[in-house]
């Protein structure tokens, strides 16, 4: 098409010329992007949180009653030899009772002193790969002196379920937000275009082809999308840091994924989403007015 450069320039200029409408569109688009982005990052962090707990490859190996701590050292060595085992830490029955007391209250275990401690000595075993859990447990149980291995299978499954659940809800929220955003944006663009129907109509009445009329609007839409994406990235970063800060001050022991880690996908998806929405929104809403002729303007 001839005059392509002019049409692009015109589109860029129009963002400024129609700045009231441009600002309106940008604000709306930014709101939607930040909202959807926040929901996405929130859900990513929640999954991460669940996964952090779930992918805790620890299990507890109990030692038979009557084995001395010296025997235990030997058993520990044996466990360490197993290929899938990463580390082995001794967890004496004294430690165990202490932790129980801490967790459940002194009262409950007040009658239990060191001699009467009914709990077994144990090892905390960290595995390399939780997939090989069953084989590793079988190998551990072959070792003499090992009483039983804590069954973490159920726990892991429960966590996986919760994680799935959280993911489904999060995806649901994000989808709802995306739909609402598209709705809001579509209506904003429609309103913008409505206020420019005269202009479109005049262009057509001096012999401009539809594509010639449309081009600057598409460029304008994409530029607005791009500006919105840029502002949204900044806004989301601020919001994210702010909320992370709140978590830090309220002593919740969870490390947010650093924003720099998600920066690239955020930027990429915002830019793509913003420009796509700007483009498609303009394209669709201009169609209607391209069909109109000059008599839609105050007649002659």
């Amino acid at each position: 098409m001839k005059g392509f450069g002019y049409l692009v320039k015109e589109g860029l200029k129009n963002v400024w010329v129609n700045r009231i409408m441009s600002i309106a569109s940008i604000c709306v688009l930014v709101s939607c992007l930040v909202l959807t982005g926040s929901a996405t990052l929130f859900s990513v962090n929640v999954s991460e949180m669940v996964d952090q707990v779930g992918q805790n490859n620890e299990t507890t190996v109990y030692i038979k009653d009557g084995y001395s701590q010296l025997d235990a050292v030997y058993i520990g060595k044996e466990i360490e030899k197993i290929s899938n085992v990463n580390s082995v830490t001794f967890y004496s029955k004294d430690d165990a009772i202490l932790q129980f007391k801490n967790q459940l209250g002194d009262e409950l275990f007040s009658q239990i002193d060191e001699d009467k401690n009914p709990l077994p000595d144990a090892f905390i075993v960290v595995m390399d790969d939780l997939e090989k859990y069953d084989e590793t447990v079988a190998e551990i149980q072959k070792i003499d002196g090992v009483d039983s291995v804590l069954n973490r299978r159920d726990f892991a499954e429960k966590l996986t379920n919760i994680s799935h659940m959280v993911n489904i809800i999060a995806i649901g929220i994000v989808i709802v937000l995306v739909v609402i955003s598209l709705f809001i944006i579509a209506n904003t663009i429609r309103a913008t275009m409505y206020s420019r129907r005269f202009e479109i109509s005049i262009m057509k009445s001096v012999g401009a082809t539809n594509s010639f009329v449309r081009m600057p609007f598409l460029v304008e839409g994409m530029l607005i999308g791009l500006i919105s994406a840029a502002i949204s990235v900044g806004g989301l970063a601020l919001l994210y840091e702010g909320i992370s800060q709140v978590f830090v001050t309220t002593n919740i022991p969870f490390d947010f994924i650093p924003f720099t880690n998600v920066l690239l996908p955020v930027v990429a998806s915002f830019v793509v989403a913003g420009m796509f929405v700007g483009f498609a929104g303009s394209f669709l809403s201009i169609r209607k007015y391209l069909k109109m002729e000059g008599n839609e303007i105050l007649g002659w």
Binding site: M1, K2, G3, Y6, N14, V17, N18, E199, I202, M203, K204, S205, V206, G207, A208, T209, N210, S211, F212, E293, G294, N295, I297, L298, G299, W300
Partner: protein, 257 residues
């Protein structure tokens, strides 16, 4: 150039704006269209520029039947016309220069040509020093002249002007019609709607009078309606080659879009 065969126009609200109009306007003619307010003059012009379509009958422009025109071809039809609108139709966000230049850009002219041509046309209508203004910063007559400049800028084959002198004083009106006559003498077909009888009297051009949607008077009636063969043999006229190119241009639309 322009043929009306039994053309009627009824607006969606039931208003009969034109009844059974039969007309032939030759290439290179200068035609005044006169008539009372609401007679149907603007409707007549809108039909030619395909802003409205006839309810009945057939309009042929440069050998191309309007009823056969595809939507995509309409812009290419309009590019051969320069139109002065009764309500000016200027884009308020663009400067005067850009309003005029826009019509050139729409047909794909290059920037160098635009930069030379637009100031020249603005000077023709006496607006040399107002190119940088917005239409809202102009007086009524000045806006009307911008609309005129935009109509002239592409050297169209047909100029259609609806009340081009409604908002300017008699001296300027005279100048404008003189300018159009000059352009007409170089082969351009010119259609002017006007209420100013004095102007019509001064310039000795063909006058079509419309009243209540009917052509009630046509100073060149004898040449046309009686001698119906002229219309039939239209394509064989001596300006055939040029007209052929015009209608080819319109057909090219389908591929360019």
């Amino acid at each position: 150039m322009i043929d009306f065969e039994n053309v009627s126009k009824t607006y969606p609200n039931g208003i009969h704006a034109l009844y059974d109009v039969n007309l032939h306007i030759d290439k290179g003619e200068f035609v005044f269209i006169v008539g009372a307010s609401g007679a149907g003059k603007s409707t007549f012009l809108k039909l030619i520029m395909h802003e409205e379509t006839p309810s009945n009958g057939e309009i042929t422009i440069a050998g191309k039947k309007i009823s056969k025109l595809k939507r995509k071809e309409v812009p290419y039809l309009r590019r051969h016309m320069g139109i002065v609108f009764q309500d000016f139709r200027l884009i308020d966000k663009m400067t005067v220069f850009d309003n005029v230049a826009f019509a050139m850009r729409a047909v794909g002219e290059n920037t160098a040509t635009i930069k030379k041509r637009v100031p020249y046309v603005l000077s023709l209508v006496g607006l040399s020093d107002k190119g940088k203004r917005k239409p809202s910063e102009l007086s009524g007559g000045e806006q009307q002249r911008v609309s005129l400049a935009r109509a002239l800028v592409n050297n169209p084959e047909i100029i259609i002007a609806d009340e081009p002198t409604g908002n300017v004083d008699p001296e300027l009106s005279h100048e404008i019609i003189e300018l159009l006559t000059e352009i007409n003498s170089m082969g351009t077909t010119v259609l002017v709607v006007t209420h100013e009888h004095e102007l019509v009297r001064e310039f000795n051009h063909r006058v079509i009078k419309i009243d209540h949607g009917r052509v009630v008077d046509d100073t060149s009636k004898d040449n046309i309606s009686d001698d119906y063969d002229d219309i039939k043999n239209y394509d064989d006229s001596d300006d055939y080659a040029e007209l052929k190119q015009f209608s080819d241009d319109i057909s090219v639309a389908s591929t360019d879009e």
